[in-house]
């Protein structure tokens, strides 16, 4: 059990296997047109070909193209040919194999089969791996975007002197209590400082146009960010689905506010 937990620290095949994947196979006597129709309908690029439980190979757009190129003469009706004439072999991986070890296979063949020849459990494609690694990396990317977007909206809302007034009103006492230097510019401030400045009803009117809504809605959106940031950057735990969604929604909201602010700025410049 301990060993399994340690292995979970690394990126394994099971983590990249889409949870909703339902395996679709065709038998060896299925026709090319039938398999292509199935692939089109399911929006997939390859389909395993089986005889009973045994995997014979994989039929794909590439295997079809290669097979056709090798045929001595082009048949009149390609669609009626059996798929077994156009099979390719894909590598088999175990559900607990390391994903990074399969990157070359995914680069060359676009997909890897999961399970055994006599018991297929799933397929991982290059896009599945890409999505997985994006999922792992995206909290860091999102947090960077969120923090920089808040900073930019704050910058557009107040002059440096007005920012100092807001700092004095909201977070100065906190810093003085800790005998720490009071920040004087946005770059010196932490994400937590940004949230406290925005939350204060005395300073809020200066930021209302940039952030929209009310001080309460803005605070409800931002209040958990400093803690989430610490959890992520100190690798304490993975974000829950709920937390991740919240982070993404906050990022989308800020992107919209930035666009609005830019549009207003352009209109002012033009006017």
């Amino acid at each position: 059990m301990g060993e399994r937990s340690l292995r979970n620290l690394f990126h394994l095949v099971k983590q990249a296997l889409p949870e909703e994947q339902e395996l679709v196979c065709v038998s060896s006597d299925a026709t090319v047109s039938g398999a292509l129709e199935l692939m089109r309908g399911r929006n997939i690029s390859q389909v395993p070909v089986t005889e009973g439980r045994e995997v014979l190979g994989v039929f794909s757009f590439r295997s079809l193209a290669r097979g056709l190129a090798k045929l001595p003469r082009k048949p009149a009706d390609i669609g009626s040919l059996p798929v077994e004439e156009f099979l390719e072999d894909l590598h088999f991986a175990s559900i607990t194999d390391e994903l990074t070890a399969l990157l070359d296979e995914l680069d060359i063949k676009d997909a890897v089969l999961v399970g055994r020849q006599d018991h297929l459990q799933g397929i991982i494609t290059a896009v599945d791996a890409l999505r997985y690694f994006y999922r792992v990396a995206s909290p860091y990317v999102l947090l960077r975007e969120v923090e920089l977007a808040i900073r930019e909206l704050l910058r557009r809302s107040v002059t440096p002197e007005q920012l100092c007034e807001c700092i004095d009103l909201t977070i100065r006492a906190h810093y003085e209590e800790k005998h720490a230097p009071v920040p004087r510019c946005l770059e010196d401030m932490s994400l937590n400082d940004y949230v406290w400045v925005l939350r204060h009803k005395g300073s809020w009117p200066r930021f209302q146009e940039a952030f929209g809504g009310t001080a309460d809605t803005t605070y409800a959106k931002l209040r958990s960010l400093p803690d989430l940031r610490n959890e992520v950057f100190h690798f304490r735990r993975e974000l829950t689905v709920e937390e991740y969604e919240r982070l993404r929604e906050t990022r989308d909201w800020l992107l919209m506010r930035i666009r609005k602010a830019e549009a207003r700025g352009e209109a002012r410049d033009a006017g």
């Binding site: 099971k14 983590q15 296997l17 949870e19 909703e20 994947q21 339902e22 395996l23 089109r40 309908g41 399911r42 929006n43 175990s94 559900i95 607990t96 999961v114 399970g115 055994r116 006599d118 018991h119 459990q121 799933g122 209302q208 929209g212 809504g213 009310t214 309460d216 809605t217 605070y219 409800a220 209040r223 958990s224 829950t240 689905v241 709920e242 969604e245 993404r248 929604e249 989308d252 909201w253 919209m256 506010r257 609005k260």
Partner: protein, 489 residues
């Protein structure tokens, strides 16, 4: 074991008479193998199931399968943590199942022995799970929310029962649907539940007594009208009807919840729109994922019964995405929140009471809990917020803190299903229903939780009333609750 001693054993585990008798009959030799228990939510059915599982495992059961909606799996896992050396419950998703299968090796059952498996109803209904479930002998199958057994979910369970792969089955629901063949049904009502001295466990549920008035502003009304229009358009497709309903419920709860749902819809529809634009087909599963994502915001024990087939009109998606974008923009232009202001004023009045009132604010939406806890955090009194996302132990600490210090407890239905939270509701002086429940039945259930016989003092049930009557959907819903909420002025 004779029936009397089984009854005593279940009684000693804290079960009320109705539940103990049911459990005793369920485990009795020669009793029917398959039962459905119909009982109101929050009356202890999870504890009953736990007692039955414990007893059967202690007397030799090797494999137990618990099927429940995805949102309730963690709750079941927590409820079934064993007190003695029984197997710990294992929540199985698709990935962990594949891991079990690979570890078991060729030709062997993937299920550990002994095992208590907790699995989502929607995973069990998948075609590739039917074999592994039906190829195993289960000593007990427990199905929570059995009214959700329709379509493929129903077929899977029928297969388990008809093939006798399940030795015993316990189905549970508060709102029974068509009975399954061969299943014995027993019905318990809230009024009929008594303690071991014969006293009722619940008081007669009485209507809400107080209304907190507010008047939506022109900006708020304009947004709600636009949202109504979108909801009507959404209703033209199957999944859209549910999405439209959820949007209206969210907007009725708080604009913050509405914004969260609108963003989630946009986020899930954009890839669908892009795929359609590139001529790639879109499946029902793509829309199911969208529904599941917005349903996860609703913190109710009874999840949405998502349709297995989704009719989609691809031509409308582009236009609907544009409308969603517009609405998300509009919501940022609403200044102020008249409903929140009314709540804040009411809470200030309650704080002036001597001693200050213990208040519970009840909502169905996780995002409304977030919004209220952020906003009410400005008040000079403790605010405790509970949702299903809060870890059980942390939640219990918060409730104990609230019982000690008083203040405002913000909770949802799922969070209040925890027995400690349920008992804490006995100490609430004023319950404020921040949003409207989905139906009269839900309203009665909500009110009933505060009117248990174990409560020492009276409780005031209050609700937020919009005197502008500007949200047509809300007014229609209120019509169905006539007599249970004070009439609108």
């Amino acid at each position: 074991m004779p029936a009397e001693s089984a009854l005593e054993a279940f009684r000693s585990q804290g079960l009320a008479p109705f539940h103990a008798r049911f459990a005793s009959d369920f485990v009795a030799a020669g009793s029917p193998a398959y039962w459905e228990l119909v009982a109101p939510a929050g009356t202890g059915t999870t504890s009953l199931a736990r007692a039955i599982v414990e007893r059967l495992v202690r007397t030799g059961a090797r494999r137990v399968l618990v099927l429940a909606p995805g949102t309730l799996l963690r709750r079941w896992q927590r409820a079934l943590v064993p007190t003695t050396g029984q197997p710990s419950p294992l929540v199985v998703d698709r990935r962990s199942f594949l891991e079990l299968e690979a570890a078991a090796g060729p030709g062997r059952s993937p299920w550990p022995d002994p095992a208590v498996i907790v699995m989502g109803l929607d995973l069990a209904r998948r075609a590739d799970m039917a074999g592994p479930l039906a190829d195993t002998d289960w000593d007990l199958v427990v199905i929570d929310q059995s009214h959700l057994l329709t379509g493929q979910r129903r077929s899977v369970v029928e297969q388990l029962l008809a093939g006798s792969r399940a030795q015993r089955a316990l189905l549970m629901t508060a709102t029974p649907g068509d009975p399954l063949p061969g299943v014995t049904r027993r019905v318990g009502t809230r009024e009929g539940l008594v303690d071991w001295s014969g006293h009722p466990l619940f008081r007669e549920v009485s209507p809400a007594a107080a209304a907190v008035d507010y008047c939506r502003t022109d900006g708020e009304t304009a947004f709600l009208r636009a949202l109504e229009g979108l909801s009507r358009e959404l209703a033209l497709q199957t999944a859209g009807r549910l999405q439209g309903l959820l949007l209206r419920r969210a907007a009725s709860s708080s604009f913050f919840a509405a914004e969260t749902l609108l963003r989630r819809l946009l986020e899930t529809w954009r890839p669908i729109r892009n795929r359609l634009a590139h001529g790639v087909s879109v499946t029902a599963d793509d829309f199911r994922a969208s529904l599941e994502l917005i349903d996860s915001e609703l913190d109710e024990a009874d999840p949405l019964d998502l349709p297995e087939r989704v009719d989609v009109d691809p031509g409308r998606i582009e236009a609907l995405c544009a409308r969603l974008d517009e609405l998300v923009e509009k919501i940022g232009d609403i200044e102020g929140d008249s409903k929140l202001e009314a709540l804040t004023r009411f809470l200030a009045e309650l704080r002036r009471r001597q001693p200050p009132a213990r208040v519970c604010v009840w909502t169905s939406f996780i995002s409304t809990v977030r919004y209220l806890s952020a906003s009410l955090g400005r008040l000079d009194e403790p605010v405790v917020a509970l949702t299903s996302a809060v870890d059980r132990e942390a939640g219990r600490r918060l409730v104990e803190e609230w019982l000690g210090k008083g203040g405002v407890l913000i909770t949802t239905e799922v969070a209040a299903d925890d027995d400690l939270v349920a008992a804490a509701l006995d100490h609430v002086d004023v319950c404020i229903s921040y949003d409207l429940p989905a139906s009269l039945g839900h309203l009665q259930d909500r009110v009933g939780r505060f009117q248990r016989a174990s409560r020492a003092a009276d409780v005031t049930i209050a609700w937020l009333r919009d005197t502008s009557r500007s949200f047509a959907w809300e007014e229609d819903l209120l019509g169905t609750m006539a007599g249970w909420l004070p009439p609108t002025r």
